[in-house]
């Protein structure tokens, strides 16, 4: 979610609440003889409000489980999660008078801090990364399909190279789909043809001699195919500039009828590289939740325990 002017309403409301809470706390802190305590009426009120904010923020997960329930738009829940979750930290600090207390409350406080910070980190990532992914990964596909698309890319490259160089003994896939990352957007025919007459000229397939096709075979089998099978950013083809240079060099070694295929192979590498980038960005976009969600659940559970223990004993 982007933090932009559409968040203004929630931001102003949160700021107003923060100011009210701060004012109340300041007056309260100035007038208590000792130090502000969570067990006092005002401290307890801060605790209830803060825990309420935390509970609301945590309910976002449950809300997502029932997307068809008309209990407020998910977007409103998300904004509430962001701003009230953020507000819960100062409110809980007011609740404890900026003291972390005993073991349980100290743990609880630190967990809350980590939760809020991880949430802020996640919000920042989700603010920036969608834009980065939109720009960097033009041939984006569904994340779970990346593995399949990679196989299709390799098969497509195999077909093209074998059509030009003759059989290379590569395993044929039963699938003949030309589906590519980006679905039909990226579909392009693989053909090696020559001739330029305008009327009804059939496509002529060219097969190179062993000698003529040697540079391409060496490059494909030694470098490109391993990259397609297991793309690594560290390899030459994992870097856009280096890959461009590699293909430019290959083009100078190949006869003109092969240039169309070399361009296709370069495009395939570019697509494979984009998929690597998508995976990387996707992990950043959603990986922080592996920290945020368990800790926030722990905060809720321990917060409930703390409430019971504090009120009962």
């Amino acid at each position: 979610m982007r933090i932009d002017k559409t968040q203004r309403g929630w931001a102003i409301a949160s700021l107003a609440m923060m100011m009210v809470f701060t004012g109340v706390y300041a007056v309260y802190a100035a007038n208590v003889p000792d130090r502000p305590r969570g067990g006092s009426a005002i401290g307890l009120t801060f605790g209830v409000i803060g825990f309420g904010f935390m509970l609301f923020a945590a309910l976002l997960g449950a809300r997502k489980r029932v997307p068809t329930w008309r209990i407020g738009r998910a977007q409103a829940w998300m904004r509430g999660h962001l701003w009230l979750g953020l507000l819960s930290l100062p409110v809980i600090l007011f609740h404890g008078g900026f003291h972390f207390g005993g073991t349980l409350t100290s743990v609880l406080m630190w967990l809350l801090i980590v939760t809020v910070l991880s949430g802020l980190f996640g919000a920042a990532l989700q603010h920036y990364l969608p834009r980065v992914m939109t720009i960097d990964v033009k041939l984006e596909t569904i994340y779970d399909e990346i593995g399949n698309v990679r196989v299709l890319l390799r098969e497509e490259a195999d077909r093209g190279v074998e059509a030009l160089c003759g059989s290379l003994g590569l395993g044929k896939s039963a699938k003949e789909e030309m589906q590519r990352a980006g679905g039909f957007t990226a579909a392009r025919a693989m053909s090696v043809s020559k001739g330029g007459a305008s009327v009804a000229v059939a496509t002529e397939t060219v097969v190179l001699t062993d000698e003529a096709s040697a540079p391409l075979r060496t490059f494909y089998l030694g470098e490109m195919r391993p990259f397609l099978e297991q793309p690594r950013r560290g390899s030459r083809l994992g870097n856009a500039d280096k890959a461009h240079n590699a293909f430019a060099g290959l083009r100078t070694l190949m006869p003109e009828p092969a240039h169309g295929l070399v361009q296709d192979l370069e495009d395939i590498c570019d697509e494979a590289r984009q998929l690597v980038r998508q995976e990387q960005l996707h992990r950043w976009l959603h990986g922080w939740l592996l920290v945020h969600i368990p800790i926030s659940m722990a905060v809720i559970v321990l917060g409930a325990v703390h409430a019971v223990v504090a009120l009962r004993y």
């Binding site: 979610m1 982007r2 559409t6 976002l60 449950a62 997502k64 489980r65 029932v66 997307p67 068809t68 329930w69 008309r70 738009r73 998910a74 977007q75 829940w77 998300m78 989700q126 990364l129 969608p130 834009r131 992914m133 939109t134 033009k138 596909t141 569904i142 994340y143 980006g182 679905g183 039909f184 957007t185 009327v199 009804a200 059939a202 996707h282 976009l285 959603h286």
Partner: protein, 722 residues
């Protein structure tokens, strides 16, 4: 007609010494033919414009030179000699010259012995031509699956070209080259198989020699079975329904028609299955029915538990009324009868043809047909059915069956015609005309005078309007739809072009009958006028829109065609798939949305129904169950048989099939029921059961929006699209 007869002038001429009287303007060729003196010809066919290029039909009219009778009109007092030595010698010389270049025997002569040139040459006693044979071959073209081309056997009579252009309006064939290299050409001299030729066969039927012949394609024979009987051409020709069919054709298509015997209870064909044959019932009775439940997918629930998903079920229109749902009483199927909505069962008997759409257009079977008694039927492939349909006697029988059994239902299926009186229906039965059109053929041309009203009986008709710079598809019409009323009720001029998308058959109601109908039945007039006004208003709105959007990408992605798009703002979207999950939850676990598609600017146009203005999904539905509401939203009617053709036709992959387990009659064991999985086509329903699309409602990042593209992108497109 009577006016024409009264005003017709006759002239007297002398034909081989006999005085005859023929209408003024008649060609000498026709005058002779009408009076029992056939004149040989090669380039002339009665249904084509005479061109007089072969010069075989020359006659002596007393002029300086002999004249080609096919292009020479009679004149009062003209003396015509058709059989003098001078004339016969001239014809013989022409035949000798043609035979000198002809590869005798040509393919046609070799296979069926009816090459017109060789037959005439033999009759004229032309054995060994005195002239030298051609030394350079003009070549053969074997690229078409259906038709073989031997340019050497071509005599440049142009019959094929006129057949292609004048009769079929395909405009594929033309002339190329000069002198010895002159020949016929497909498109810009493309191989026939690569050209825009649709293999309608008109050129082959028109060709007098072996230049264009039907290929006996291996593997096209219908599979034989124990109760199957194949035929030799001679046997078929003895059957009344094949009277007049070319023996050559039947010989070349041996195996493309078989006689089958079905025992009582045996399934002849099943709904939803793909096939390529039509059946013509010779004996016995068959029951045609739909086994798919007559209901649509209804999703409801949601409040039954915290994590409980909504459930989908099948609901008939009587129990769940949807906006814009058809109130049709009949379900159109691919047979000479329609089925009743409440009881979709009918009977077929001798003389009935079914499976025509499947055979001609390769659409899925629209219904299940079971032999009620022992049934004997012809099963035939498309090439045979096509020729049969050109055969007058067979055609007349099919037409008669249709008029007798289905025309009334068909007419009354149009709600506004429900009030027509029985006597007027009877009158229409006699006056309407059934017309067939090949794919791409124009039925009504924008700007032409409106003379008829049409009801679609078979196939799909595209209605489009041309505007400066392009063409806009206004609608696709299928069986039960009609067109032509705007021109007849309005200024008398066609406001749009109507083109056959596939093999189309329409019921043509002449303008006079149409006018009588709207005068006698005011309710019909009111109904038609209301529909015409609605259609015109919608068309004008679309034209205004299309003329104001200049962005190429917007057009090339088909966004212009969309009425409603699900777009994801990629700068907001975190790829969390909440939209997809919400869609699945809202539709019983089956998502109607895939988060993939084309990008336009920063937006991803997700794979979800776009409610296209040019809804290709509707083309081909064998029972016409997918259509548009008045709001132009797509609706799938209750009688969807789940064949999946619409899902395949949708260019954006936006139609899904939703499986349901239902109890149906066990066709193998009559009287018993069994559970089977039946599918129903579904597309985005905008979650009308939940008031707002769930994908949009469930997006936590303000990324998913359902928008009218013209409005949403108007700023980006220059502000002129609202």
């Amino acid at each position: 007609m009577s006016t024409i007869t009264q005003s017709m002038d006759f002239v007297e001429i002398t034909l081989d010494g006999r005085a005859i009287r023929v209408p003024e303007g008649t060609s000498v060729f026709d005058a002779a033919r009408m009076n029992g003196t056939p004149i040989p010809t090669l380039c002339h066919l009665q249904n084509e414009t005479p061109v007089g290029v072969c010069r075989l039909c020359v006659v002596d009219t007393g002029g300086r030179v002999l004249t080609a009778s096919c292009v020479r009109p009679v004149e009062a007092g003209m003396k015509v000699v058709t059989n003098s030595d001078k004339v016969l010698n001239a014809r013989k010389t022409v035949l000798e010259l043609l035979m000198a270049d002809h590869p005798s025997p040509c393919a046609r002569q070799e296979k069926s012995g009816d090459c017109e040139l060789e037959t005439l040459a033999k009759a004229a006693g032309v054995a060994q031509p005195r002239f030298a044979k051609r030394t350079l071959s003009r070549g053969k073209d074997d690229s078409s699956l259906a038709i073989a081309v031997d340019h050497d056997a071509c005599i440049l009579c142009d019959r094929c070209i006129r057949g292609c252009d004048e009769i079929k309006n395909n405009f594929v064939l033309g002339r190329m080259g000069k002198g010895y290299s002159a020949g016929i050409a497909f498109d810009l001299n493309a191989p026939m198989g690569d050209s825009t030729c649709i293999s309608c066969g008109e050129c082959m039927v028109s060709c007098p020699t072996g230049a264009l012949t039907n290929k006996t394609v291996l593997g096209t024979s219908i599979a034989a079975g124990k109760d199957t009987q194949g035929f030799e051409a001679e046997e078929l020709l003895q059957l009344p329904v094949f009277k007049g069919v070319s023996g050559t054709f039947l010989e070349l298509n041996r195996g493309a028609i078989v006689k089958r015997r079905f025992r009582a209870g045996e399934i002849i064909c099943r709904e939803g299955e793909f096939g390529s044959t039509a059946f013509y019932v010779l004996e016995g009775k068959a029951r045609v029915s739909l086994s798919a439940p007559i209901a649509h997918v209804k999703t409801e629930g949601g409040g039954k538990g915290l994590f409980k998903k909504l459930t989908s079920s099948l609901a008939a229109r009587d129990t769940d009324v949807r906006d814009g749902e058809a109130r049709d009483k009949t379900i159109p199927i691919d047979a000479s009868v329609d089925l009743a909505y409440g009881n979709p069962v009918a009977e077929l008997g001798p003389g009935d043809l079914f499976g025509e759409m499947t055979c001609m257009n390769f659409y899925p079977r629209s219904a299940t047909v079971i032999a009620e008694t022992d049934v004997v039927a012809f099963e035939m492939l498309r090439n045979v059915l096509d020729i049969m349909m050109k055969n007058k006697s067979f055609r007349a029988q099919i037409d008669q069956n249709y008029r007798r059994r289905a025309l009334e239902n068909h007419l009354r299926g149009v709600p506004m015609f429900a009030d027509l009186s029985p006597d007027f229906i009877e009158h229409l039965k006699g006056s309407v005309e059934l017309r067939r059109y090949a794919p791409g053929q124009v039925i009504a041309q924008q700007g032409d005078t409106a003379r008829s009203f049409y009801l679609v009986r078979i196939g799909f008709v595209k209605v489009s309007e041309t505007y400066p710079g392009g063409e806009l598809v206004l609608a696709y019409l299928s069986r039960g739809d009609y067109f032509g009323e705007i021109g007849l009720l309005g200024g008398g001029v066609r406001t749009a072009s109507c083109t056959a998308l596939d093999h189309v058959e329409v019921v043509r109601i002449p303008g006079d009958d149409f006018r009588e109908m709207v005068e006698r039945f005011p309710s019909v007039r009111q109904g038609l006028e209301a529909v015409a006004a609605e259609r015109q208003a919608a068309n004008q709105q679309r034209m205004q829109t299309v003329q104001s959007v200049p962005i190429d990408q917007f057009l090339s992605q088909g966004l212009m065609e969309a009425q409603s798009l699900l777009i994801l703002d990629l700068q907001n979207c975190t790829r969390c798939d909440a939209c997809v999950n919400a869609c699945a939850d809202a539709h019983d676990g089956i998502t109607r949305l895939v988060r993939e598609g084309l990008r336009f600017d920063q937006f991803l146009v997700a794979t979800s129904c776009r409610q296209c203005r040019d809804p290709l999904c509707m083309v081909g539905c064998p029972v016409g169950s997918i259509r548009r509401r008045n709001s132009l939203e797509v609706i799938i009617e209750d009688w969807c048989i789940g064949c999946g053709l619409c899902a395949r036709n949708c260019p954006y992959g936006n139609i899904n099939l939703h499986p349901f387990e239902v109890m149906v009659e066990d066709l193998e064991r009559p009287g018993r029921k069994k559970a089977v999985v039946k599918q129903k086509a579904t597309s985005c329903d905008l979650c009308t059961h939940l008031k707002e699309p769930s994908c949009v409602y469930a997006c936590p990042h303000d990324a998913a929006h359902r928008v009218d593209p013209r409005t949403f992108f108007s700023e980006m497109l220059g502000g002129g699209t609202k």
